[in-house]
């Protein structure tokens, strides 16, 4: 038997002994727990697969379905209790959610309303323009349109800016065939006469301008006269002797050319306006006939310039 030196401890002596160490065992607890673990999981997976198979094959009948129904019935009170406990919170959530959704819906509806309103306004504006263009087309295609004239259609680009301005600017000029002193009409009647021409634009002096004089004829009584702006700024039919008869409501049209030497600028038959009042005084030589123009002179959107097919000498 070996004797340990005095300086060495008893534990060191044990470690140093020649006793054979036992071979490492495979840790039975570890191996067992891993086996149990895997067996449990495998069993649960197999049971789950079996349940799925049975439930899938007979979803509405069978013992498993009955068990599931009973289980569901048993769980129902707990579910109801949970639902009731959560109800106030759910109500609060729904309240704030509805406020949020209402706000967003309100904003969306406002945006839609703005878009629809803009479209409606645009449509109404277009409808007015279409109406005017239709009347203009009707005039151009009608039998009253002078045969030896052709129409140059043009958009109005600027309107009379005040009571002292009696001109329009149109988006058609000499390049389109517009000439100086060409009569200008809208769908309702005579508008004026071209007083200045540029290549792409032209200026139209309106019927209400003091410098404009138009030979006119009453289509009902065939009385002739001269339409121009009177002292009060209104249109009048002048030069009608008192013994002739003009009635309120009579329509006036352009009289056209009678003298080949001095051709009229306006062809015969363009509607000018309607007689709005007729007065006669003892001192005046002529009747005082006031005329309301057919054409809206302050805001025509589209007009046609009547260009003679043959150039006058």
């Amino acid at each position: 038997m070996a004797v340990a030196p005095p300086s060495r401890s008893a534990r060191a002596a044990v470690l140093a002994s020649s006793v054979q160490r036992s071979k490492p065992t495979p840790y039975p607890s570890k191996a067992r727990s891993a086996l149990i673990r895997r067996a449990v999981v495998l069993a649960l997976v197999l049971i789950a697969l079996a349940l799925i198979t049975i439930s899938f094959r007979s979803p509405t009948a069978g013992a498993l379905h009955d068990v599931q129904g009973a289980g569901s019935t048993a769980l129902r009170p707990f579910q109801i209790a949970a639902t009731r406990v959560a109800q106030p919170f759910r109500d609060a959530y729904n309240y704030f959610s509805s406020i949020s959704s209402t706000k967003s819906e309100n904003a969306r509806l406002k945006r839609e309303y703005r878009t629809v309103r803009q479209q409606a306004i645009a449509n109404r504006a277009l409808a007015i323009k279409v109406q005017q263009l239709q009347r203009l087309l009707h005039l151009e295609q009608g039998s009253r349109f002078p045969a030896d004239y052709q129409a140059v259609n043009a958009e109005v680009t600027s309107f009379p800016s005040g009571p002292f301005t009696h001109t329009l600017e149109i988006a058609a000029g000499s390049s389109s065939g517009v000439r100086l002193n060409s009569p200008v009409v809208s769908g309702d009647g005579l508008v004026g006469i071209v007083s200045n021409v540029e290549p792409q634009t032209a200026v139209v002096t309106l019927l209400t301008d003091p410098s404009t004089f138009v030979a006119a004829r009453d289509v009902q009584t065939r009385v002739q006269g001269m339409v121009h702006t009177g002292p009060g700024g209104t249109l009048i039919l002048d030069q009608v002797p008192k013994q002739l008869r003009v009635k309120k409501g009579d329509a006036l049209v352009t009289d056209g050319t009678h003298n080949a030497r001095y051709p009229d600028l306006y062809p015969y038959g363009i509607p000018i306006g309607r007689v709005s009042s007729v007065n006669a005084t003892d001192t005046a030589t002529f009747l005082q006939v006031q005329v309301t123009p057919f054409a809206s002179l302050s805001s025509p959107d589209a007009v046609a310039v009547l260009v003679p097919k043959k150039q006058h000498r």
């Binding site: 449990v40 999981v41 649960l44 789950a48 799925i52 579910q79």
Partner: protein, 174 residues
């Protein structure tokens, strides 16, 4: 795991399943539903290991399938595997790490959704992959929000297991 812990774990999963089916299943946030049951199962599996996780997942899934009258065993299968996998993660590496619950919940949320999708697809049921994929990120975020309070609650409910109760991959001798 003691008998008392088992009762507590069962009660926890029961309440979580009922709450999930009755309340949380109706909360749709960005197309996703917060899953309080899954988060509870992850917390339980992390704290009590793979066997408890697998068994808990199986019975929680059974409760859900029973309450919703769905295909019995479908949720059980996926939750069993989820509980087992998280339990193994807790036993081997993740138990002591602070980020373990959050990492586990994020990963399991994805695997759980995809697992359910696959099982539904295999069974020939409706499996809207696009909707599931789109709801993954919101679902992860919602579940991560739930993780901290639920993990703290489960940890308080079930005291951390003694070291010798756990299954360990490495056993010290001597």
């Amino acid at each position: 795991m003691t008998f008392g812990d088992g009762v507590k774990a069962a009660a926890l999963l029961f309440v979580a399943a009922v709450v999930q089916v009755s309340i949380f299943s109706q909360l749709h946030v960005f197309g996703a539903v917060p899953d309080v049951l899954l988060v509870s199962l992850v917390a339980l599996a992390l704290l009590r290991g793979s066997v408890v996780g697998a068994v808990g997942g199986f019975f929680a899934g059974l409760l859900v399938d029973t309450a919703t009258l769905g295909t019995l065993g479908l949720t059980s299968l996926v939750l069993t595997l989820a509980g087992y996998w998280i339990g193994r993660y807790g036993e081997t590496t993740g138990r002591a790490r602070a980020h373990a619950p959050f990492l586990s919940v994020a990963v399991v949320t994805v695997l759980y959704q995809l697992g359910l999708l696959v099982v539904h697809f295999v069974l020939g049921e409706s499996a809207p992959a696009g909707a599931v994929v789109r709801s993954l990120i919101p679902a992860i975020v919602l579940n991560l929000i739930l993780t901290a309070p639920i993990y703290a609650l489960v940890r308080r409910l079930l005291r951390p297991a003694a070291r010798d109760e756990l299954t360990a991959e490495v056993q010290l001798l001597g």
